[in-house]
Each structure stands twice: as structure tokens, then as C-alpha cells.
């Protein structure tokens, strides 16, 4: 991106003359350079996959979890600033727990995604706060409709539901690869299963990994 902020990029409560909020765009940049997170909505569930670089041989490989449980029916994969991601996940857990206390039922995926989006968006509204430098991929099951769904919540607070989505370093080739998969054929039986989805995502993460781009 060639354009410079020149004064309009110091605070997330400032618009640039061409209608952009640079701080939010810079937050998205933080995600672009981080490890890939991929998600696939298959006919019998949702698969989440995260590229987890181990920058240091002294690091315990099983530590620093990247895919988190939000509720018994929801999980979130984060990429970008993982510490920012931790905040978003904690909030999602609170929202889910709160919803259950009020309504006695599991929070529907669309409601949870909406709440997460609103939370992330809030941090783009105040000059004293910085936006989250993390994108969350929410995989969630709705017991009412008996269907699972995949949502992606970006640093701007925007949230959409996807058949396949990717964030982080390998997102461009991943999205191209995903379009080749049978994800949204009208006849459900023709779409790939979760079993196949796991293999596909693992293959993609492996194929698009670039050692040279590993950052600590």
C-alpha cells in the first residue's frame, strides 16, 4: 500500500480524507503477516486449522494453544497478535456463558459471531484504545437447526459466515485452493466431509508454508 497516513493514521478515531481509518487497516496488516488460520464448512461439520510455527527449539511444542474452546458447541482459532486474540476469546466465552445463564440454551452461532464483531468493533471507535490485531475464525454448532457454521471476525469488527475462509500469511493461495473444493454444492451429499476437510487443510498449510517468512 503506497499511500502514507501522514497525520490521519495516529488515532483510530480519525478518518482520512479518502474515508479510511488507517489504524484499522494497520491492525489488519498485523494479521496478514502472522501464521495462517484456515476454516472449512463441510457437510457434516466445520474444520479449523492453524499453522503453528515453532520459532525456538526450546519451546514445548504442545504449549501455546492456537485453537480455543469457547463453549461445548463453539471453538475459535485466532491469528495475528495472539495476546489480542486471547482477549476476544475470553469475551466470547463470557458472552456464551451469559447467554446460557439468561436463556438456558447454547448461544446460536450467528448471535455469538455478532457479539464478537460488536466487541472487536468497539475498539475501533475510541482514540484511547487500539484495535485488536487479530482475526478470529469461529466454528460453531446450532442445536436448533442441527447445522454447524463458520464465521470470520476481522479487526475492523466485520463478521461474515463462510463456506471456506483463510487469514494470515497463506490466505491468498488457500482461498484459491478452497474454491476448487466441493463446499457449496446444492446436493449435500456431494460436499466434502470433515474427514476429507482435515486432510485438505493440512495439505494446504503444509504446501503454503514458507520457512523464510517465519517470524517469532
Amino acid at each position: 500500500m503506497a499511500s502514507s497516513g501522514s497525520g490521519y493514521d495516529l488515532s483510530s478515531s480519525t478518518f482520512s480524507p479518502d474515508g479510511r481509518i488507517f489504524q484499522v487497516e494497520y491492525a489488519a496488516k498485523a494479521v496478514e503477516n502472522a501464521g495462517s488460520a484456515l476454516g472449512l464448512k463441510c457437510r457434516d461439520g466445520v474444520v479449523l486449522c492453524v499453522e503453528k510455527p515453532i520459532p525456538n527449539k526450546m519451546l514445548l511444542p504442545n504449549s501455546s494453544r492456537r485453537i480455543h474452546t469457547v463453549d461445548t458447541h463453539s471453538g475459535v482459532a485466532v491469528t495475528g497478535f495472539v495476546s489480542d486474540g486471547r482477549q476476544v476469546i475470553n469475551r466470547a466465552r463470557e458472552e456464551a456463558a451469559n447467554y446460557f445463564e439468561t436463556y438456558g440454551s447454547k448461544i446460536p452461532p450467528t448471535v455469538l459471531a455478532d457479539r464478537m464483531g460488536s466487541y472487536v468493533h468497539y475498539f475501533t471507535l475510541h482514540g484511547s484504545l487500539r484495535p485488536f490485531g487479530a482475526t478470529s475464525l469461529l466454528a460453531s454448532y446450532d442445536p436448533e437447526t442441527n447445522d454447524a457454521s463458520l464465521h470470520m471476525i476481522e479487526p475492523s469488527g466485520v463478521s461474515h459466515s463462510y463456506f471456506g475462509c483463510a487469514a494470515g500469511k497463506g490466505r491468498q493461495p488457500a482461498k484459491t485452493e478452497m474454491e476448487k473444493l466441493a463446499l457449496h454444492k446444492p446436493a449435500a451429499e456431494e460436499n466434502i466431509t470433515v474427514r476429507e476437510g482435515i486432510r485438505q487443510l493440512a495439505r494446504m498449510v503444509h504446501a503454503f508454508h514458507d520457512d523464510g517468512k517465519d517470524k517469532p
Binding site: T102, Y103, G104, S105, P108, V111, E144
Partner: protein
């Protein structure tokens, strides 16, 4: 003094209440509809002072409407609505309680027999039941429902049971409650089956 009762059947639930609005020895009104519709496929039969009845049911039904507006048309299940209502009763209990005993009935596609009925008293105890009563009616009607209710019963059978309960109250209950209103909730929504006095404000 209010009689409220309900029976679930295969495909829905029947709710019935008496239509008397009275306090102490004075009858204010004889055509009160004590079954308030909450959402497209749920309704609540309420016993208690008219003030709390109206206040509580309007509060719950408008909050349910707000949920649908806020969440892009998503509907709350009967189970969720009942838990929400219970939560509000519980919250108000130790501040300024709603003195209402309710029977919340609703229809959900995802529920096995379609209809579900929730008993919730003014102390905010919530229990899902196949059939239930609030108030003095319990003393007379629960045994009839115990005998007549069975899994998979039809709408006609459920209404017959409700009518048997009303007959028993007419026969044995000290307080004369001539008029009852009966409503059914099924896949087509909430509808009035029968009333003693037309509840409309003419």
C-alpha cells in the same frame, strides 16, 4: 383464585384459564383473557393480580420481540423463553417480586412431540411438565390429568381433558368460575379454541 392449566399433546399444547378478574369479594371483570401470546408460537397462562399479570407479560413479550429484531429474525425456543422468564422472576424476587404464577406453552419444530409446557411459580422455580396447573385448580385437576394424559395423545383428547378439568371445577370448586378461555399452540401458531365471554374490548 385464578385457575390456570395446560396439557401437552402430540403436535402442540393446550392452555386454559378462567376469565374472572377479581380482588377480594369484588368482581371487576368477567371476560379477561389471561393467556397472553408471547411470540408467534408461544403463550403464557398467568395467575395473580392483574397489575403484575400485565406488567410481567408485556415485559417478557416485548423483550422477546426485541431479541428477534436485534438478531436478524432469529427466534427463541420455548425452552429459552421459559428460562428467560424465570430469570426475570428470579431477578425481581429479592427486589420487588412479580406475584405471578405462570404456565408457558409453546411449539418448536425441533422438539420431539412439538409442544412443550413449562411450570414456573412466583418464586421462580421452573419445571418442564407434560401437563400442569396453577392455583387452587391443582387440587381438582391434577388427578384428572394424571389419569387421562398419555404420550402421543391427540389435540381432541387434550381438549377433552381440559374440558373435564373445567367440569370438575364447576362441580367441586367453591369459587364459581363460569367462564374459561381455551387456546391451542401448534405448528400454525396460537389460536383460541373456545371462550366463555368474548375477551375483546368492545
Amino acid at each position: 383464585m385464578d385457575s390456570v392449566f395446560g396439557v401437552t399433546y402430540e403436535g402442540g399444547v393446550v392452555l386454559a384459564t378462567d376469565q374472572t378478574n377479581a380482588r377480594s369479594i369484588l368482581v371487576y371483570q368477567k371476560n379477561l383473557d389471561k393467556i397472553t401470546q408471547l411470540s408467534s408460537h408461544s403463550a403464557m397462562g398467568v395467575s395473580g393480580p392483574n397489575s403484575d399479570l400485565v406488567n410481567f407479560t408485556e415485559y417478557i413479550s416485548k423483550n422477546l420481540a426485541l431479541y428477534e429484531l436485534s438478531n436478524d429474525g432469529l427466534k427463541l425456543s420455548t425452552h429459552a423463553q421459559a428460562n428467560f422468564a424465570r430469570g426475570e422472576l428470579a431477578r425481581a424476587l429479592r427486589k420487588g417480586p412479580y406475584q405471578v404464577n405462570i404456565l408457558l406453552g409453546g411449539y418448536d419444530e425441533s422438539v420431539k412431540s412439538g409442544g412443550s409446557l413449562y411450570f414456573c411459580d412466583y418464586l421462580a422455580s421452573l419445571q418442564k411438565v407434560n401437563y400442569g396447573c396453577q392455583g387452587y385448580a391443582s387440587n381438582f385437576c391434577l388427578s384428572i390429568m394424571d389419569k387421562e394424559w398419555k404420550e402421543g395423545m391427540t389435540e381432541e383428547e387434550a381438549i377433552k381433558t381440559v374440558e373435564n378439568c373445567i367440569a370438575e371445577l364447576h362441580e367441586r370448586f367453591l369459587i364459581a368460575q363460569k367462564d374459561f378461555i381455551i387456546k391451542v399452540i401448534d405448528k400454525d401458531g396460537v389460536r383460541v379454541v373456545k371462550y366463555g365471554q368474548d375477551p375483546a374490548d368492545n
